[in-house]
Symmetry: C2
Subunit: 223 residues, 2 copies
């Protein structure tokens, strides 16, 4: 058991070295980098596609897509006219900082204001691996249940914002989800987390999120 | 990198020893054990609660609940009158066979026909850890999107059955999910997988799943 703990610490140490290099790069370039973490199917890719479309004229967005297998997601982002790099982890359950470092070489970062990292769909492992990002964004869909912040506190403790997606599925005949409960549970572990209920499908709630994002870009450009 | 691979193989070898002991135990006791794997919030606990209620008179069900944190789920199962043991993994992203071995000591296995293991909500890591179960059951909700079998093939390749839950959310104003596509993608990696669309909430589709489960129990009792 001690051996496993040692190895885990070593893996995290190597990861932290690459994360620090990425962090330095983002600071030097005044580039905002947000690491999006969620369960599979919460709607991260659709949120990004709609955000890109909405902010096309004002914020230049690039995306690093992480998936266990397939490159569907990068295709969807490119279809919106934004540069995207796909990382296939081939079974691994999270992205690491070395992969991000390599992917950054393939993005036209000097022509971007923000790099989104769409992590592998997994609410547990990705939150343990710092990628050098400026902040984490937790995404959950109302179909997943409002108990997720209580059940998976590690992510919500670290996230700058939480997006509560698929609000179009709420309602008497739809999903049961108490937005206040989810927010309150997230605040128990993270007082400053910002919550954005939204439906990427209908566009409802996207404006508040896009305004916040634009503000984050501005604060990164002119610190 | 080679070092990491070696350690991983060692962890899996230790896990396999416990898994084999569990496997022997289930065979000796003619006890069916199904390992349920899904993303967070697909509805595993509700499916189990409804299954327990429906089969109360004919199939004796016990549950081992795995969660990163909290014991909400075991409480829900006990409320249905079935014995449940909670394993809190404290951050770990999957259950291992040693934990199952210990949990089995706390269940009245001589009075059970089937033990369900509700794994940690995670579509990636749990499928790499055999627990000694007789079969895996993959669960996904229609809100997660029909691309999940293509994106996370490791689980679907190994599962005996896939439950497609929350069909009540389907429809023109609801979730977009092509059940045929999800099934076809799963069959590409696993010809014999059985698919059960259902809504644990409304009860729709539960009968076919319960009939299949009853059949599996019978086949385990009288091999």
């Amino acid at each position: 058991m001690r051996k496993q703990v040692e190895i885990r610490q070593k893996i995290l140490k190597t990861n932290e070295e690459f994360a620090q290099a990425n962090r330095d790069f983002f600071r030097r370039e005044k580039l905002l980098c947000l690491n999006m973490i969620s369960s599979p199917g919460s709607g991260k890719t659709t949120i990004l596609a709609k955000t890109i479309k909405r902010l096309r004229e004002t914020v230049r967005i690039g995306v690093i897509e992480g998936d266990v297998q397939t490159d569907f997601d990068a295709e969807k982002i490119r279809a919106m006219g934004a540069p995207a790099v796909q990382i296939e982890t081939r079974g691994a359950c999270h992205l690491n900082a070395r992969q991000i470092s390599q992917a950054l070489d393939e993005l036209p970062t000097d022509k971007l204001d923000v790099v989104f990292i769409e992590n592998v769909g997994n609410l547990v492992c990705p939150s343990a691996f710092e990628l050098g990002e400026n902040g984490k964004v937790a995404v959950l869909s109302v179909a997943e249940g409002d108990d997720k912040p209580a059940k998976y506190p590690a992510l919500f403790a670290k996230a700058r914002a939480m997006l509560i997606n698929k609000t179009d599925l709420l309602g008497p005949a739809g999903a049961d989800f108490d937005i206040d409960r989810a927010e309150a549970d997230a605040r128990k572990v993270n007082k400053s987390i910002r919550a954005f209920p939204m439906s990427a499908k209908t566009g409802d709630g996207l404006e508040a999120w896009c305004n916040w994002l634009t503000e984050q870009v501005r604060a990164t450009r002119e610190p």
